[in-house]
């Protein structure tokens, strides 16, 4: 039996939580309420009930509030939204463990819809004080969760491309997963596309609204799946809690492929990912390229003690949370620094050359350069070369060159 993992799919509207050793899943609106009289916190539906009965003060939409650095005053105390979010996550964890029994989870994986490296780092930082220790808490994107979820399914599900429609209130996304072999290595790409056709789910309350929603979804499916071979399509989100309104959409997607509905797909994907992370099994047998993962391998040729070597700046599929390089180089007779970018496709390998003309005039081999590479997202690498002088012999200047490099299209 492996370690116990907690997976939480966290959005601004709600969170769904699952534990790796039970089938049960839990859903909570992303809201907290503090009791007016006692030092007690309620979350989810219970929070709304307490607030409606006047027993407490409610704060909801916690994720967006925390991202904006907002605050909320409860019983005269000013709370930062990130602390309220931490409180919420702590309660989710507590309730999930309490209701399923057993030991506390040894690792937690939190899934974010709009993954950004800085956002993920801030969330990890703020949750650390609420029972989510840094080394045991991982933040991944929904695309990554979807990718791992699909890869954990039987092979026949993923013989072609795999699609996912995620429909919730005023939000509609399509995820697409495809695989490719490169030099005997399986590469799995998962991408998310936010669709402009999103609508409010209250339209499903009337017959005409249902027809309209069905038409919208059908045209989306036809457009997105045209000329592609999908072996399976998944449906998730509040919009698919019932699907009797979507006759023509279902007809469109059910042609020659399997269709699954799973409301907890992202939380389950988090459990698959968490099992690999917590067991230290870094290599799942494929390279995952998705939001939150480096989209290409970047290398440069360097010399060390007289020997040439290829220095990896980042490897495709590496988590962005740990990606980034800072090192010191000394150009010999070169006028530029060359980076080789391989998006795991031999036809799309490219070179990026950064001129070293920004360096002040100095004798040969008497200049150091500080090389800094960071990865704000899976498609972008920011490179900065700074003049580091040459010790006390040639003091450093403020000269630098900066470049944003697109890793893959």
């Amino acid at each position: 039996m492996g370690p116990r993992i907690l997976g939480i799919d966290l959005t601004d509207n709600g969170a769904s939580a699952a534990l790796s050793d039970t089938e049960e899943t839990f859903h909570f609106p992303t809201a907290v309420c503090r009791d007016r009289k006692h030092d007690r916190w309620y979350i989810g539906e219970e929070a709304y009930e307490q607030a409606l009965s006047g027993k407490g003060i409610l704060t909801d939409k916690l994720l967006r509030l925390a991202e904006r650095g907002g605050t909320a005053t409860v019983r005269g105390v000013r709370y930062e939204a990130k602390d309220l979010l931490g409180q919420f996550a702590q309660e989710v964890r507590g309730i999930t463990v309490e209701r399923t029994g057993g030991a506390a989870p040894s690792a937690s994986v939190i899934v974010l819809e709009d993954y950004e490296r800085a956002k993920a780092a801030a969330l990890t930082e703020s949750l650390a004080s609420y029972g989510f220790p840094k080394g045991e808490t991982f933040v991944i994107s929904r695309a990554e969760s979807f990718l791992y979820y699909v890869m954990s399914q039987p092979r026949e599900v993923r013989t072609g491309q795999v699609g996912l429609f995620d429909l919730s209130d005023q939000s509609l996304s399509f995820y697409e997963l495809r695989t490719r072999r490169d030099r005997n290595r399986l590469i799995v790409y998962a991408e998310q596309e936010k669709l402009d056709e999103a609508f409010t789910l209250t339209v499903l309350e009337t017959e005409s609204g249902e027809k309209l929603a069905d038409n919208i979804m059908t045209s989306c499916a036809e457009r997105l799946m045209k000329r592609k071979i999908f072996s399976a399509v998944f449906l998730t989100g509040k919009g698919f809690e019932r699907y009797d309104w979507a006759d023509s959409f279902m007809k469109a997607i059910c042609q020659r492929r399997k269709v699954f509905i799973d409301q907890d797909l992202f939380a389950k994907g988090a459990l698959v990912r968490g099992a690999l992370l917590s067991e230290g099994r870094g290599d799942p047998g494929f390279t995952a390229i998705c939001s939150g993962r480096a989209g290409a391998t970047v290398t440069m040729n360097v010399e060390k003690n007289g020997h040439s070597m290829v220095f990896p700046v980042v490897t495709a599929g590496d988590p962005l949370s740990g990606a980034g390089v800072s090192l010191r180089l000394m150009p010999d007779s070169m006028t530029e620094l060359e980076l080789r970018i391989d998006p795991l496709n031999p036809k799309k390998v490219k070179s990026v050359r950064l001129p070293l003309s920004f360096l002040p005039q100095r004798p040969p081999k008497a200049s150091f350069i500080d090389f800094l590479a960071s990865f704000p997202d899976e498609q972008t690498m920011q490179v900065k070369l700074k003049d580091a002088g040459f010790g006390e012999l040639f003091p450093k200047t403020d000269a630098f060159v900066e470049r944003e490099v697109r890793l893959w299209e």
Binding site: V302, E303, K304, R328, M330, D332, M334
Partner: protein, 270 residues
Amino acid sequence: MGMILVNASDPMHCLLLEELGVRVYTAEELCYCMIRYPLLFLDDYPSEQVLEFLELGAGERMLAYQLREQKKAGMKPEDLILYTEEITGYLSRQESDQLKGRIQALRKLPDAEYLKQQADLLFSLRRYGKAAKLYERILKLPDGSGLTANLKGRILNNQGCAYANLFMNDRACRAFEEAYTLLKDNTIRKRIYFLSLTEPVIGLRERYSAAAGSDIPPEWDAEYEEARLRAAEGPRRREIREIFEKDPVRRQQGTAELIRRWKQDYRSML
């Protein structure tokens, strides 16, 4: 060769190269100094300080160990310099051969000429005190060290210049007088004359003037005046003027800093 990956260094264990007046923090900086100024390293490379720096400061523990062992085995400093350049990857094979050629050429020089080159290097690095002492040592070399009359004259001339830079005019004058006796070069006489012009002490000034002789060409005065004007308008003078244009508090701070720098500069010359 292309882009060299530099080891992370520990600034707590840097190496002070006294003659150059700089601290080095990486093996690459040390290699650069050894190529540029091999004469400063040829006598006792690697010293214990260098080994400690390579081991603890530059992250070249293995290289330090190898150098220590090879030194114990009696390997020559020049070979150890080339070994360091090669192991750190600072020089290509071709560049290493060039350095080897330069070092061999230096080693082939007679003792007196080799030491003069060392002393001249110290002089060019404004280490006048050390240069003057080394010139003195060359003058005391036994016969057969390659100390010809001409070389002796040139050494005395350079020694005089070193003393003059240290404001030790009396010693400078004596060195110039001896050099002039050997070389009969009017430039040396001109230097004695210039000493007489800068000397503030009455009596000494007249002595230097007498040593320079009576037939002073008028262009020497013009040359001296030109040099004086150049100094008066030079960057140092400008710096002083700027300090004295400031308000009293900043003026005091500026002068204190300037005097501190002059003192430091003079100490490093000794």
